[in-house]
């Protein structure tokens, strides 16, 4: 196994029992605004309505992402989380939301296909993107999600974006309570965080 492969294996070798829900604090990082997005049916959807009264887990992805440790991993994690949320009987209190930052190419049809690929249950897990690049910038800024288009040697857009995988835990009042990246995207840990936030109510 090459050194690189060992490293990749290393980053995804979580071997710990997350601390029990309610035994630790998740102080708020910042409040995120509500936005109007376009969902995978082409309809406008308000994130405030979608997440009202719920703990929301938000990922930023684009469906053409070739980075195997980027968007596909985030979506696998949310898929796993969807299962765990159901197992824990939290379905009515949790929303999962994947927001694409490829406004041009992630059409409703592309998002719907992607949602099917990951077995998303629409009642629990929704896919959307912003109605315009300008609107998207506001969403990314609000969450603190980076995204930089990648160009080829002749200055042409390659269709790829440089970005750090981040998944956000947002409480019912719109405050980010935790952020996860690849090295810490463990479903049971996220579930315990969700419960920790819900126990405050």
């Amino acid at each position: 196994m090459s050194l690189e492969e060992e490293f990749v294996k290393g980053v995804f070798s979580p071997s710990f029992t997350p601390p029990p829900a309610g035994t630790y604090e998740l102080p708020p990082l910042k409040r995120v605004s509500g936005f109007v997005l376009r969902d995978d049916t082409g309809h406008r959807v308000s994130t405030e309505r979608l997440t009202a009264g719920k703990v929301t887990v938000v990922s930023f992805i684009y469906t053409a992402c070739p980075e195997r440790l980027g968007c596909p991993l985030a979506s696998l994690a949310l898929q796993s989380l969807q299962t765990r949320v159901r197992e824990e009987g939290l379905a009515g209190r949790v929303a999962l939301l994947s927001i694409s930052f490829d406004v041009g190419r992630d059409t409703p049809a592309a998002l719907a296909k992607y949602a099917r690929l990951y077995g998303a249950d629409r009642r629990l897990w929704r896919f959307a993107t912003a109605p315009s690049e300008h609107a998207l910038d506001g969403v990314l800024e609000s969450y603190g999600q980076d995204r930089t288009p990648v160009y080829d040697e002749r200055g042409r857009f390659t269709g790829r974006y440089r970005h750090v995988l981040k998944v956000f835990l947002v409480d019912p009042d719109g405050y980010i309570r935790n952020v996860y990246s690849a090295g810490f995207l463990v479903a049971d840990l996220v579930v315990n965080d969700v419960k920790t936030v819900l126990m405050e109510r």
Binding site: E4, S13, P14, L29, D146, T148, E153, F184, L189
Partner: protein, 436 residues
């Protein structure tokens, strides 16, 4: 349950990697080995070294500054200072660290507790000061001397050295959002009050902190301090093992003599870290035992030469140790982590402090200067070495005498700029693990 679920994600991930097939795993060829597992890596040769530089009265404008050294051997300005971004005043410049997206570099002052945030993404050659946090002491309820800037997702974890109440060693950790908003303070446990470095192992959900001394010691002239027997007792002698996610201390390890920098091993199942003790000159292994608890073991006698910064090779085979006392870089073979063997030493020059290995293990950079009042009049520099035929060979030496004294080094890349180029693939998380 937790491990099973985690394993499920991992298994699904690897199944997908296999399904995606072609191309294998993307290589990540170069980066410093001693950063956070949450920090994306840049690929290829590092283009720049950002050097947080201590200002010296009478040298340039006398201000602390973020200095950019060109580190790309194909560049016409290889080994030269290509930019300097001063901040107002002198603050005891020491450590600095990137945010989780590598767009911003936070740098701290151990004397004034000021924090300076530089934008390094808009123009990677020319870091720009975009934010100053002057409320660290007030925000944190009395922490003083922000030292390590350690990126966590969406936030910066900062270890402090001292406190505002008595300038002693009782201290803690602070968290700020990437926007610069204070989140919380975590004080060190009463039985191990000192602080210095902080490092996380995400796979184990463990965090380590080490221990130095308070402001009334580190801002005192070195010769005077060493003659004060009472003051010399006021140094930390412990490494604390924490539940990272809960931010709760689990175990206090006795590691006498001011254990400073902490470096987690990088490969899977290497459940250990290293530190070096400044006052007792020991290279120390911090390792997980069969029952899950942690222990410390001295694995090499470095000597009474004030070892300071350390760096780890990407394959966990070597630890580099710089010693302030004799200006020497020592290389220890730690293939067997329980027994460090000295395999190489190089006289760098007076007051060697920081040392950073590139992620591919081929290049090594060092600077000198420890603390303004501990340094002596001397030449100040950044020196680059590379492994060639099993020997460390000098590549360049950058003269810092006209700008100040060089401290911590962080690597930069043109590919992290706003016009990311194909061929320098996007920063990715794949190799994050290489940089604990």
């Amino acid at each position: 349950m937790s491990t099973r679920s985690a394993t499920r994600v991992v298994s699904a991930f690897f199944a997908m990697v296999l399904a995606l097939g072609a191309g294998g795993l993307d290589p990540a060829r170069a980066d410093e080995t001693c950063q956070s597992p949450f920090l994306p890596k840049v690929t290829g040769q590092e283009d720049y070294i950002y050097v947080w530089t201590l200002g010296v009265k009478g040298v340039a404008d006398g201000n602390d500054s973020m200095v950019t050294v060109d580190a790309n051997p194909t560049s016409a300005t290889y080994g030269k200072i290509v930019h300097r971004a001063p901040v107002p005043g002198q603050h005891e410049a020491h450590h600095a660290g990137f945010t989780d997206d590598r767009r911003f570099l936070w740098a701290g002052g151990l004397d004034t507790s000021m924090i300076f945030v530089f934008d390094v993404a808009s123009d990677p050659a020319r870091p720009k000061l975009v934010k100053t946090i002057s409320t660290f002491v007030k925000d944190t309820g009395g922490l003083v001397g922000p030292h390590t800037f350690y990126p966590l997702p969406g936030r910066m974890l900062i270890s402090a050295l001292s406190n505002a109440q008595d300038g002693g060693g009782r201290t803690g950790l602070a968290e700020y959002s990437n926007d610069g908003k204070f989140i919380r303070t975590i004080w060190m446990p009463k039985d191990a009050p000192y602080g210095y470095d902080v490092r996380v192992n995400a796979n184990l959900n463990r965090m380590l902190t080490s221990s130095f001394t308070g402001k009334k010691n580190y801002m005192r002239p070195f010769g005077e301090l060493t003659k004060d027997a009472e003051a010399m007792k006021q140094f930390g002698g412990s490494v604390v093992v924490w539940d990272f996610h809960a931010r709760k201390p689990l175990q206090i390890l006795n590691v006498p003599g001011a254990p400073l920098e902490l470096r987690w091993a990088l490969l899977p199942n290497h459940n250990y870290a290293f530190t070096a003790t400044a006052l007792t000159g020991q290279l120390v292994l911090i390792h997980q035992q069969a029952d899950g608890t942690w222990a410390a073991k001295n694995i090499a006698e470095i000597g009474p030469n004030l070892p300071v910064d350390i760096s780890i090779a990407p394959d966990d085979s070597k630890i580099y140790v710089n010693s302030f006392g004799d200006g020497t870089l020592r290389v220890y073979d730690v293939s067997n982590p329980f027994e460090g063997k000295l395999v190489e030493q190089i006289k760098l020059g007076e007051m060697a402090n920081m040392v950073s290995s590139s992620w591919d293990g081929k290049r090594l950079y060092a600077t000198n200067s420890l603390l303004a009042k501990w340094d002596k009049p001397s030449d100040y520099w950044l020196k680059a070495y590379a492994w060639e035929d099993g020997k460390l060979v000098a590549k360049f030496s950058t003269d810092f005498n006209a700008v100040g004294r060089a401290h911590i080094m962080n690597f930069g890349s043109k590919s992290m700029g706003p016009r990311a180029q194909r061929g320098t693939p996007p920063a990715r998380v794949s190799a994050n693990v290489a940089s604990r």
